[in-house]
Amino acid sequence: MRFGIVTFPGSNGDHDALMAVRMGLGQPAELVWHTETDLSSYDCLLIPGGFSYGDYLRAGAIARFAPVMEAVAREAEAGKPVLGICNGFQILTEAHLLPGALLRNASLEFVCDWVWVRVEQTRTPWTQRLVPGELLRLPIAHGEGRYYVDETTLKELERAGQIVFRYVTADGRVTADANPNGSIANIAGVCNGRGNVVGLMPHPERAFDRLVGGDDGLRILASVLDVGLTLARSRGVR
């Protein structure tokens, strides 16, 4: 199956995503320039991290207007798996492909660390090989990762099962200490109503090799193979 990884001016996680898919999953992946308008030849899409357009206005606020985003919206609408990581998550919320917003970290500082997240929802193409309640250790690196929705929407997300990952302690408890950025309800990742579009602040693409700290990220990326390979076959690719 073919992974398409979108490069905006200022993306800097695109190369890591490429390496994770190629080295970690052994699947073909290509970088897609932000001016691209046809993404139909890819079986899934990754919107990587970075500082698209410098993030000078608000993280992701400019990138959502890039030509490629129309194509991303079209593919998302058609049900193709889309994963937004860090800045990619911010872009997907700005583009209203995902609910909520990402605010400045509660500490007002950029934070780079390894965190534990708990898998809350496995009925998405990006988590279907995982087990509910399973813990993953992943790196974070962001300044604007405080997930926010109003109380009503939060209840709606809970009800609809759209919360995919939460920050937890090493033994799986949701506590304030385990929350690195002040996200509401310790939310680290969410999905759209249909479940095919997922966004998260932690970086699964940086965790594909134990030599550099862990390989739990591969469990997320590998989950998409089930849906992706089906899509690939339907395109007539073996």
């Binding site: 800097n12 500082f51 410098g54 950029f110 780079c112 550099v212």
Partner: protein, 738 residues
């Protein structure tokens, strides 16, 4: 103004361009006429200490700069050493002290921007950033402002670029109050045959300027960095960084270099277009003609003087073969970058500036570069330093055994010792997925190189207290400690990049420090077999006659044969801990003396460079054999601080004995908190003790069985029994209190 125009040279004018009357006369003599206003500004900028190395150039010849691994020594944008498999590692460190003193956030940020451009100008992909920082006491509000500004600026720029900041060092000392230091180092990787040199060659080749438009910012930045008391100057001299633009520039320049039509690349730093064009022409033995009206500007009405001396950030100068111009411009256009032809390479050895085709400046390139005056000054050690050094720490009462635990906690909380996590947590250190040993995990950072077995280690060091009390010995220590740290992760030190930070060299006491420190560094480099391949000098770091301590920061890059064989600093489960190296220590120049008694005095620890070399070889040998579980350099704070740090990081306690050491030292304070060179704590698994002992004897290194690991307390027989949690809390909170 044409080049023949008359001009009255006043003392004010010369002061503005920072030239002495004598230097002006020299310029007139070399030129054979009086320079005009523009030419005078260009000469002043390139003859500044910052660009011309007037005081350091004669001394820097002392450094060993060649070796079997060296591919590119000093003189280019950065140095380069062989890694194997056709790859080279490129390294360079640079100061941004004066701007950071005035505007810490932007000053530090643009320091990162500048050093990154030096690396990709060589055709290398930047893979790591390292920072060496110095501030005054962190308890003071202004120092916190500087500290948070600098750390914030480094993070902002590096994080946005997507280059991990993986290591560094920071030290707090009252002498840095008015003059903080910000030294940024960058490491890159390139194919050996793809290395680019900044040498303008090929008459008729085109000079292309790419990146930011040129504004009125930073004019006279180079001269500003060459005078005392930065705070008195105004903030307008400090540039504002744009890391997003730099990211585009980085990617586009590396892509453009892949076309093979680029002859040379040079970043625009201090003295902007003047310095960049003079340097590439000088290295290429050619001339350059520039048309200033072709330079894209931010404002209307800028004079040729302003265009030639602007230090606007995020700009690069390229020399391109005419037939490849279209391809180059197309790539830059794709990255939304503004690139224009601003001149061409000539054969007359002149830097000629045109305005609308009319010559407005014409100077021999050599006059600007090679003919810059150099000075050898009077050197004399300050009496005050000699007096401080003669202080005898043994005149103080010895430490009481019952106070050891409390003092240990205090030292672990000291800003010079406490965990650096509050700093590196704000730096992205996992991006690029190469970070094998992240900040805080080892004595040096370790990076993998995807697709290769070998790895890279990197670290900076310099203990300014040692350097203040004895600059020659202190500089030797800087080289020894930096290379020792790299050895402790299992890497062989390959090369050094140095940043020499000093006060006003026109004062004999400061010049003495400069001469001595360079001598000491050179001696240590020779003894340890590590060449200096690049570096930077920052002088005039002083305010109202009060200089910073001599601070020769040493950045080291090492190579691990097998990156899987790296070793961290935290004790890894149970095992036996040995102390390698000298068993006697001194309180002279120690953190204990400074922290507990407020005394910066005494003689720094002696350093036997031959023993140092043997210790490093032993540590690497033991790691290579796979018997080392952890290795930790024993430096500031001494033995007990070192063992506590390794216990905290590893999350395991231990039981240690110091009786034989106490006997050797004679005093408790020296034994537990005294400092010494060439000491490393090493953990081996049970059963490997004999192998390590035999290796130590074979290498002629003193070895002492210090204790065994286990439990959750730090126990020293008859002296200390402390819960590890309390020590960890003190160490982790040290910098966070601020």
């Amino acid at each position: 103004m044409g080049i023949g125009a008359r001009m009255t040279v006043t003392p004010e004018l010369l002061r503005e361009v920072a030239l002495t009357a004598e230097e002006y006369r020299r310029a007139v003599e070399l030129l054979g006429r009086e320079p005009n206003r523009l030419e005078l500004g260009m000469i002043g900028a390139l003859w500044s200490e910052h660009c011309g190395y007037k005081h350091s150039r004669p001394l820097l010849r002392r450094f060993p700069t060649s070796g079997p691994h060296v591919v590119q020594g000093p003189g280019e944008n950065a140095g380069a050493v062989e890694l194997g498999d056709g790859l080279v590692v490129v390294l360079k460190i640079e100061s941004h002290n004066h701007p950071s003193a005035v505007e810490p956030f932007q000053g530090a940020a643009t320091g990162v921007g500048g050093i990154v451009r030096d690396i990709f100008a060589m055709g290398a992909r930047p893979i790591a950033l390292v920072d060496s920082l110095r501030f005054g006491p962190l308890e003071e509000a202004r120092q916190q402002y500087l500290f948070h500004g600098v750390v914030g600026g480094i993070g902002w720029y590096g994080n946005c670029l997507g280059i991990p900041t993986v290591a560094g060092d920071v030290f707090f000392m009252s002498e840095y109050r008015q003059n903080p230091l910000v030294n940024a180092m960058c490491v890159g990787i390139a194919q050996r045959e793809a290395l680019v040199r900044a040498r303008a060659s090929g008459v008729g080749n085109l000079v292309v300027l790419v990146g930011a438009d040129t504004g009125r910012d930073g004019i006279h930045g180079a001269t500003f960095a060459s005078v005392e008391d930065p705070e008195r100057s105004h903030r307008g001299v400090v540039q504002v960084g744009n890391p997003f633009l730099e990211k585009l520039l980085l990617e586009a320049c590396l892509e453009v270099l892949g076309t093979g039509v680029v002859v040379a690349m040079q970043d625009l730093g201090a003295a902007g277009l003047t310095s960049a064009s003079a340097e590439i022409a000088a290295r290429g033995g050619t001339g350059i003609e520039l048309e200033v009206t072709a330079v894209p500007r931010r404002e209307a009405g800028m004079t040729p003087y302003e265009v030639m001396l602007s230090e606007s950030q995020e700009r690069m100068l390229l020399v391109v073969r005419p037939e490849g111009l279209e391809r180059v411009l197309a790539i830059f256009h794709r990255w939304d970058l503004h690139a224009v032809v601003v001149g061409r390479v000539t054969d007359d050895g002149c830097l000629r500036v045109l305005e609308d085709g009319k010559t407005v400046a014409e100077l021999p390139v050599q006059l600007l570069t090679d003919w810059c005056p150099t000075y050898v000054r009077e050197a004399r050690e300050a009496d005050e330093i000699r007096a401080r050094r003669s202080f005898d720490p043994r005149s103080l009462p010895d430490l009481e055994a019952r106070d050891v635990g409390a003092v240990l906690e205090q030292l672990l909380r000291s800003p010079n010792i406490a965990s650096r996590q509050p700093i590196y947590r704000t730096y992205d250190h996992t991006i690029m997925t190469n970070t094998v040993l992240a900040p805080g995990q080892g004595e040096a950072a370790v990076l993998r190189v995807k697709g290769h077995r070998f790895g890279i280690a990197v670290k900076t060091d310099c203990n300014p207290r040692y350097c203040l009390l004895d600059p020659r010995l202190g500089a030797q220590h800087a080289v020894a400690e930096a290379t020792r740290n790299v050895s402790c992760v299992g890497a062989e030190p390959l090369a050094i990049t140095d940043c020499l930070n000093f006060g006003n060299p026109e004062r004999p006491e400061v010049y003495y420090q400069l001469v001595q420190a360079i001598e000491g560094m050179a001696e240590a480099c020779e003894a340890l077999g590590v060449p200096v391949v690049s570096g930077n000098v920052s002088l005039y770091n002083e305010t109202e006659g009060r200089s910073i301590p001599p601070t020769p920061v040493v950045g080291v890059v090492g190579r691990l044969e097998d990156v899987h064989r790296r070793v961290g600093m935290g004790f890894a489960g149970e095992g036996v801990v040995f102390l390698l190296g000298p068993q006697r220590a001194t309180l002279g120049a120690s953190e204990y003396l400074a922290h507990r008694f407020g005394i910066v005095g005494g003689t720094p620890p002696a350093l036997d460079l031959e023993l140092e070399r043997r210790v490093q070889v032993l540590v690497r040998d033991a790691i290579h054999r796979g018997i080392v579980l952890a290795a930790h350099d024993c430096s500031e704070g001494g033995l007990l601080v070192a063992v506590a740090e390794s216990c905290i990081v590893g999350g395991i306690g231990g039981r240690f004995r110091i009786d034989p050491l106490l006997e050797a030292n004679g005093r408790l304070d020296e034994t537990v908190f005294g400092e010494a060179a060439s000491r490393v704590l090493v953990q081996v698994p049970f059963g490997a003790e004999g192998t390590l002992l035999a290796l130590a004897h074979a290498h002629g290194v003193p070895i002492y069985e210090f204790g065994r690991l286990g439990g959750e307390r730090l126990v020293v027989d008859g002296l200390l029994d402390h819960p590890l949690g309390a020590l960890a809390e003190a160490w982790r909170r040290g910098l966070r209190r601020m």
